[in-house]
Amino acid sequence: MKFRLKNLLNYALGCIKRYKLRTIVVLVCLTMAATLFSSVLFIKDGLVREGQLSLKYAPDLTVQGIATGRQSYIETRYIDLIQRILGVEKVVERIWGYGNIGNTLLVIIGVDLEDPNINLDADYPIESGSFLDPQRNDTVVLGKAVAELIGAKVGNLLTIITESNQARQYTVIGIFNSESSIVNADTILMTKDSARAFFNVPEGKATDLMVFTQEVNPAYYQTQTSFVAREISELPNLRVLTKDLLASAQETTYGARSGFFSIVWYLILISVAIVAFNQTVVVGHESRFEIGLLKALGFSTSDIIQIRLTEGTVLGFLAGSAGIVLGVFYNAVLNAPVLKDVMLGWATLYPAFPVPFMVSAQSIFLTYAITVIPVLFATVIPSWINATVDPDIAMRGARA
């Protein structure tokens, strides 16, 4: 059987070269579809990863103040009240918001340098310069992509416009390089006091509170968090956001967008299947004649299906591989034009940053699966139909 299998494989590969038109049409259409599909998947995976990174050091609960039904500053007196709830480990006030540099809106975070639990090395690993000096309230540390965007270097002076249109100057004393490309691209760190002054947040108030729950067996984490969230909700004028809620909001936003593209992709896929089917059945008189001839020469139906399976698999893998390579090129080198706007939104104020993408084994498997299966469907089924009729009928039909 060794030689027989080899002969059939060689013949199948020869068919790919021999039916040039069919091969080119199928490869071009399927590669285009696979490129689009893999690009969307890679960006979606990248965004999910970004989401996971942003949640990695996020508190178990975020508590916001509510006034007239809208988010407002939260009073820091709530810290003590929340701290008393069973299961709460720690409550930390946070001051943050948005500031303008040029036309770009950036996130400004006030860092509490005295908080012994803050993990600066992990969250904001410094690439050049140093971290914030608690003695100096006129310094900032920039994300790497922010620094590149505005052309800032350590030691430069930076002017940021406040909400009340006041220009404030800071010295860049460090640049950090986070795992998260979004954090790198939109974050400016300053001391908590600087941030309070910048945003004009009154003493006794904060942007929000971070609530960390006590460590429990992971099986009880959800129960404990829900309990604490419910207890906090009992307090007046507060809104509680859980880590899961933030994660699902992110997943819904980007998942829905990639879902939209999946529909577009499926339409392309169906077109490809029709083209391939058309090539095989309608245009494929040559193929029908060949099947009849092969059977006349002693090939069995299973031999013919094996040949077509090999052809289809090779074509599908070629298209899938080309699609994956082009998808990576499209995202990494071209920075995903068009798709980026669709996947990330059209906000012009949002800072430019490299499209977050990740090539996961699951995406690669999925891309291959949906490039190989339609081609198999389009090549094997018509071949099987032709191979089950008498060789004479197949050859005569092809000549007719």
Partner: protein, 224 residues
């Protein structure tokens, strides 16, 4: 020995365009003989040859080879039978385009468990015997009709079949090629193979050990 019993083929049975292509054909073809089927165009020769070669299922009747009913075989076993025992030369030549002459010749070997590369030399020798030694690497589209038919003959013989079915093998070819092929049939007969030929070419009919004359789908007469 090949025998047929009441072999019948009806196309489009029960429809307005029903055609009774072959009706109750009973023939016997012995080993080491050339059996020729003659008759006008459309008399059912090709259909009969296809049924004998298991390329077409009969509407009725049986094909027996050495007293074994091969028409009762499953599709898969028919393929095996053709692979192991038969070589076909088709009226329409039926070579695969975009392949060289020698690649067409070795095609039937691809479904055998053999190293086809080892058969390139015998294939080349066959082509040389048929006067195509210098054309073996030519694409079949570059060959004349007569040369293509000789490639088809070589393809039918590469597996050394014991039964050769040749349907109008001299239809599209010149006199020189016809003589080469005719001589080859004589050689095959001398090797003890069973040869079935359908033809309207008088020279070829002269080779016959047995001749069946067909008319309107029926065997009108036979002569030995």
């Amino acid at each position: 020995m090949i025998q047929t019993e009441n072999l019948t083929k009806i196309y489009n049975r029960g429809k307005q365009n029903e055609v009774q292509a072959v009706i109750d054909a009973n023939i016997t073809a012995n080993d080491g003989e050339i059996t020729v089927f003659v008759g006008p165009s459309g008399c059912g020769k090709t259909t009969l040859m296809s049924m004998i070669g298991q390329l077409l299922s009969p509407s009725k009747g049986r094909v027996l080879v050495d007293n074994e009913d091969i028409s009762a075989y499953s599709d898969g076993w028919k393929a095996v039978f053709r692979r192991e025992n038969m070589g076909f030369i088709f009226q329409h030549i039926n070579l695969l385009p975009n392949l060289s002459a020698i690649d067409n010749v070795i095609m039937p070997l691809l479904c055998h468990d053999v190293d086809v590369e080892r058969f390139r030399k015998p294939a080349l020798e066959l082509l040389q015997d048929l006067g195509l030694g210098d054309r073996s690497s030519f694409s079949v589209e570059e060959l004349s009709g007569g040369e293509q038919q000789r490639v088809a003959v070589a393809r039918a013989l590469i597996t050394e079949p014991r039964i050769v079915v040749a349907d109008e093998p001299l239809t599209f070819i010149d006199a020189a090629s016809a003589k080469t092929i005719t001589d080859f049939f004589v050689k095959l007969r001398n090797e003890g193979r069973t040869i079935l030929i359908s033809t309207h070419v008088h020279n070829l009919a002269k080779l016959a050990d047995k001749t069946f004359s067909m008319q309107h789908g029926r065997i009108a007469s036979n002569t030995s």
